[in-house]
């Protein structure tokens, strides 16, 4: 057995920690690697993800059963699409409660779909406890803590116990003044042409590409870890 595709859930119980940017980066990384990507936006309201990835993004809600069916049944549907879920902080608890109750991770694995949770580390108690609870509840998923260096240099490693051999995913700081380019739609990390049409200066473009390469390296490593989790589960389940 080998994973045909993966589902990555980008999560944090805190608002404004860079989840949507991470979702965009990851989606564009997969597009850059030549994979079909679908993104799901569970943030209430602002539709930021849709502005940047209009063709890939589906706005989702899990407040009622119909919304849950629309989201989860599509996530595990048998298609060779890589999926990225941008989980709004207000849906954090209910999303993982439903995920756990319906056995989502196990169902995905049985369909050869790997599941990863990217969790942005912040020092607050709510996040630390939420992370521990995810670790306890989702042992079959790859849980990867994310250090967003734009939030500060501290890694809070003492607060976030890591599984052995699983480093954090680092999102390096982007040079000051460049954020406005990447945060004005339309903008795609996967589309180099767009930089020209959007009038981004060459020096800024080069700098963004350099930053992006470091992030893509982190994502490649993450991909390997999801694969490794697949190997582990094959050994465990003997399939």
């Amino acid at each position: 057995m080998s994973f045909r595709s993966s589902i990555t859930i980008i999560a944090s119980p805190r608002p404004r920690v860079g989840k949507t940017l991470l979702a965009r980066l990851l989606a564009d990384f997969h597009r850059h690697e030549g994979r079909a990507v679908a993104t799901f936006d569970l943030n209430a309201g602002d539709k930021t993800l849709e502005h940047f990835l209009p063709e890939q993004t589906t706005t989702a809600s899990i407040r009622d059963i119909n919304g849950q069916i629309a989201l989860f049944d599509r996530l595990v549907a048998d298609e060779n699409t890589t999926k990225v879920v941008d989980l709004g902080h207000e849906s954090f608890e209910s999303f993982f409660a439903v995920t756990h109750q319906i056995g989502f991770v196990e169902e995905a694995l049985s369909r050869s779909i790997g599941v990863a949770i990217l969790f942005t580390m912040t020092p607050d108690k709510t996040s630390v406890e939420a992370y521990r609870s995810l670790r306890a509840r989702f042992s079959h998923a790859t849980l990867a803590p994310v250090h967003n260096e734009m939030l500060g240099p501290a890694q809070h490693r003492d607060k976030y116990p890591l599984a052995s051999g699983s480093p954090v995913v680092r999102i390096p700081v982007l040079a000051p003044g460049l954020r406005r380019y990447i945060e004005t739609p339309p903008f795609s990390f996967a589309d180099a042409q767009l930089a020209e049409t959007a009038g981004i200066p060459v020096s800024a473009h080069v700098e963004i590409q350099r930053w992006l390469r470091r992030i893509y390296l982190e994502f490649r490593e993450l991909d390997l870890r999801i694969l490794l989790a697949d190997l582990r589960s094959s050994i465990r389940f003997g399939s």
């Binding site: 059963i65 849950q68 069916i69 989860f72 109750q101 319906i102 169902e107």
Partner: protein, 252 residues
């Protein structure tokens, strides 16, 4: 031949989810590889038969011919467990009939394992049946089932009143059936398959089906909780004492 077991599932009121409980029991025994047969007393048209057609026979439990069909075959049937879904309003009279034919006497002597699942409705009226039922039951295994499957409303009982009834039956145990999402329940109804088949994404003829994964997930979780209750009261030890009881739950 191991001792046969008879489980009566009944309520004096309709619409309290009696057949649903009978279905979870049949699934439970199936998961424990305990051969089971069922009798549906809602003649002529049985709900239980719709979900478990191969195991279920529709009978009139007040007719002597059908009583023979059920009780005279206990020792000879392949099934180890007999589940009888007693139509609303017939619980007390069925128990009376069982007394008359000497069935309860055999149960008391330990020749037959006998258990009653008494499904309680959300109103105080159903408490009075407990008293009435208790009168004929004696020491049988008596389970009072609080069924929350179809409603979110709290049971309107005064705890003191409830406990005074509850204590009239020696060794009575309480079982709670948790709520199941309405749409999930409805889809199982529409599919007309056992809960286990729905969870396993199987149709009426065991063919692959295409139920929503989310709904299957909810049913699996709910069924796991219901079976957890049956495990807690050691139901499998009661009906099949010598059998391996730590079978992994298919719904687990």
């Amino acid at each position: 031949m191991a001792k046969p077991a008879v489980i009566l599932v009944g309520a004096d009121k309709g619409g309290v989810g009696k057949t649903t409980v009978a279905r979870t029991l049949i699934d439970y025994f199936g998961a424990h590889q305990t051969p089971t047969r069922a009798f549906d007393t809602e003649s002529p048209r049985g709900t239980l038969k719709r979900f478990h057609p191969d195991l279920t026979e529709v009978v009139d439990v007040t007719a002597v011919a059908d009583q023979m069909k059920i009780f005279d075959t206990l020792g000879s049937a392949d099934a180890k467990v007999t589940v009888i879904d007693v139509r609303a309003g017939l619980l007390s009279s069925t128990l009376q009939a069982l007394t008359d034919i000497g069935f309860l006497e055999s149960a008391k002597k330990g020749q037959i394992t006998f258990a009653v699942f008494h499904i309680l409705g959300p109103s105080i009226a159903s408490l009075e049946e407990i008293a009435e039922t208790a009168r004929v039951m004696g020491d049988a295994n008596y389970f009072l089932v609080k069924n929350f499957i179809n409603n979110t409303t709290f049971f309107e009982w005064d705890p003191a009143t409830y406990n005074s009834y509850f204590k009239r039956i020696k060794g009575a145990e309480e079982i709670t059936i948790p709520k199941l999402n309405e749409m999930a329940y409805e889809q199982v109804e529409v599919a007309s398959v056992p809960f286990v088949s729905f969870v396993g994404n199987k149709g009426v003829k065991n063919e692959a089906a295409n139920y929503s994964f989310v709904l299957r997930g909810y049913v699996r979780h709910w069924l796991g909780n219901v079976w957890g209750e049956y495990d807690r009261v050691k139901l499998i030890d009661l009906v099949a004492p010598k059998m391996e009881s730590n079978v992994r739950q298919a719904a687990g």
